[in-house]
Amino acid sequence: MTDPNRDPERDPALGAALRRAGGEPPFDEVDWAGLRGRIAAGAELPLARLRREPVAAPSPSRARPARVGGWRRVVPVAAAACVGAVALAGTLRFLPGAAADSSAVALPPQEAVLVEEIVSASLPDGFAALLSGEAAADALLEAAVGS
């Protein structure tokens, strides 16, 4: 079985075909001395600056790792888990038994009675009792899983 972590074998036929098609780089046509001279000329000023103010090697903490691995992979997952936990905690506040939302606006009495009548009329008897809070707490769970 091929080791998936081992470097793949080179394909001489494909390489040869690519070379024939693309041609070899024209090494013989390059003025190497001229190119080297142009590079050296362009490097004079930056090198002079470095002589005046040599730069230090970056500290390991500043350096960007070649690849993220090990415990660093866990950080994004942990962050997502924290966000999820906060969101869940916020949701739990609104479940029955949780503190009432103090920002809720109370309906005028006449409208509250009207809403209650409409809801009660449109729902099965047992369900209306659940919503009104008159039913026992575990009845809601039974209704959710049993019906």
Binding site: P8, R10, R19, G22, P25, E29, V30, I39, A43, P46
Partner: protein, 193 residues
């Protein structure tokens, strides 16, 4: 034209010592690094850009970029992948810029005076075909297959140059080879490949 001898085998420890001297502005050390890598750099640049003049410019810009970024080079890591990352990124950007300006055609290479017109026409057809096939590959796949098959970089070196994982390099290589072999098959059967 002066011809350079083939470069000496890469020695990471020697490179590390040279880079440390370059940090202090040592021109001789910088010139040694240039001499060590310029031929291979030109080969990679030419395969990226397809034209000698553009490749020479890219090589020059990349070596000068080494000086601009020398403070980011991490001691203890090999110099070559870091340098070729600079060169390949610049080359890929140049290709994209050129593609935006005009149709990106693969230029003709120098014709050999000793090849018959028929053979040259056949070769030209193959060259155009493979050139189009290479151009049709996604940028990463093209870079991976060229760096691996033509420039002799290893998988881990390519991963460091392109800042992708080893597994991703192998996947790109597999996909690129699959596509190219399929497109080259008719030419193999004709015996012109």
């Amino acid at each position: 034209m002066e011809l350079l001898p083939p470069p000496a085998p890469v020695d990471d420890d020697e490179d590390a010592a040279l880079v440390e001297r370059v940090r202090r502005g040592d021109a001789a050390a910088f010139d040694t690094l240039v001499g060590r890598y310029m031929r291979r750099a030109f080969g990679v640049a030419f395969r990226l850009l397809g034209q000698r003049e553009d490749a020479e410019d890219l090589v020059q810009e990349s070596f000068l970029a080494v000086l601009q970024r020398i403070d980011t080079f991490q001691p203890g890591r090999p110099f070559a992948p870091w340098f070729f990352r600079i060169l390949v990124n610049r080359g890929l950007n140049a290709r994209k810029a050129r593609a935006l300006r005009a149709t990106d055609e693969i230029p003709e290479t120098a014709e050999s005076p000793w090849v018959s017109p028929a053979r040259e026409a056949e070769r030209g057809e193959l060259r155009d075909h493979v050139g189009r096939a290479l151009d049709a590959l996604p940028e990463r796949q093209r870079a991976v297959v060229q760096l691996f098959e033509l420039e002799g970089f290893s998988g881990p070196e390519i991963a460091e140059i392109l800042e992708i994982s080893d597994g991703t390099v192998r996947w790109h290589l597999h996909e690129a080879r699959k596509t190219l072999r399929r497109l080259l098959a008719p030419f193999d059967r004709r015996g012109s490949a």
